[in-house]
Assembly symmetry: C2
Homo-oligomer: 146 residues x 2
DNA sequence: TATTGTTATACTCTATAACTATA
DNA sequence: TATAGTTATAGAGTATAACAATA
């Protein structure tokens, strides 16, 4: 019962705070020179920055989107010249995705701007409070990844 | 410099984890009988459940949306018969919003289902880990609300 | 048959701009 | 002039379903 209230309070905080934080992250991204990159597009680029040559279904898994949705997100990035699709020798169904030179440059800039904006949002927290937040988000990330 | 790395790591965790958590919250809501309520619509209803008679601009502040966007969200709720608009005596520009009886009933059901879904997501965490997460989200909520 | 990806469709989100009505 | 809200418009996000190509 104490256990029950514990887990429910945690769930309530997630329901209250995650959408709020998401709104702010999105606003920060738009405000800080990332006008033409949506959050899913940005996340796809972050993933491709670390996983060059990934297939579209791999990206879909990472983004948590349907194949159709992922296709649309990637299509936008290709349209902006940030990502290229190429064939995978050996399995002609698959598409290998990678950042272009422009994509890598823009990712770097956007990433720095987004981080700066988020730093501004949490500037009011003290060092150990930030440590608590970082630790908790790591826990949450682990729980959601399973 | 240690300070700098601390704040930047926290920002990086936010950028990594908040969108991921948002995806899962949305999926849970859709899966658990809340098919016809989007996250912003649900949040608006939660707010109106505690702030009956609120004006649309008050809801806009809470949601972090523009007046136009808020108008659209509310329009959807009115269309589903979950919210009613009424006049404010004394200032005929304003609109007072409130849940209908159906709205209150659906909110209760949706809220329970959403919490249950989120509880399932974090079931893998231990009690003190959940306490850390809840505490951190409270800190984050406080930081974002300023 | 199962997998990878696309196209079609539909509804919602989100923003900006222009507008009406009221204060 | 300033505020509350709506309408118009546009580009993304997100889902499902139907499809083509490949394995």
């Amino acid at each position: 019962m104490a256990n029950n209230s514990n887990i429910e309070m945690c769930a309530r905080m997630i329901l209250d705070t995650v959408p709020e934080a998401m709104q702010r992250v999105r606003s920060e991204m738009r405000a800080n020179r990332a006008e033409y990159l949506s959050v899913p597009q940005f996340r796809a680029m972050l993933f491709l920055g670390k996983n060059a040559g990934a297939s579209q279904s791999t990206v879909a898994d990472f983004l948590g989107l349907s194949p159709a949705g992922t296709s649309a997100v990637i299509e936008g990035l290709v349209g902006h010249g940030l990502v290229v699709r190429s064939e995978v020798p050996g399995d002609r169904r698959k598409v290998a995705l990678a950042l272009t030179a422009k994509g890598r440059k823009d990712l770097e800039r956007t990433r720095a701007a987004a981080l700066e904006g988020i730093c501004a949002l949490i500037a009011g927290l003290g060092p150990e409070q930030r440590r608590t937040v970082a630790e908790a988000l790591e826990l949450l990330h682990g729980a959601l990844s399973r």
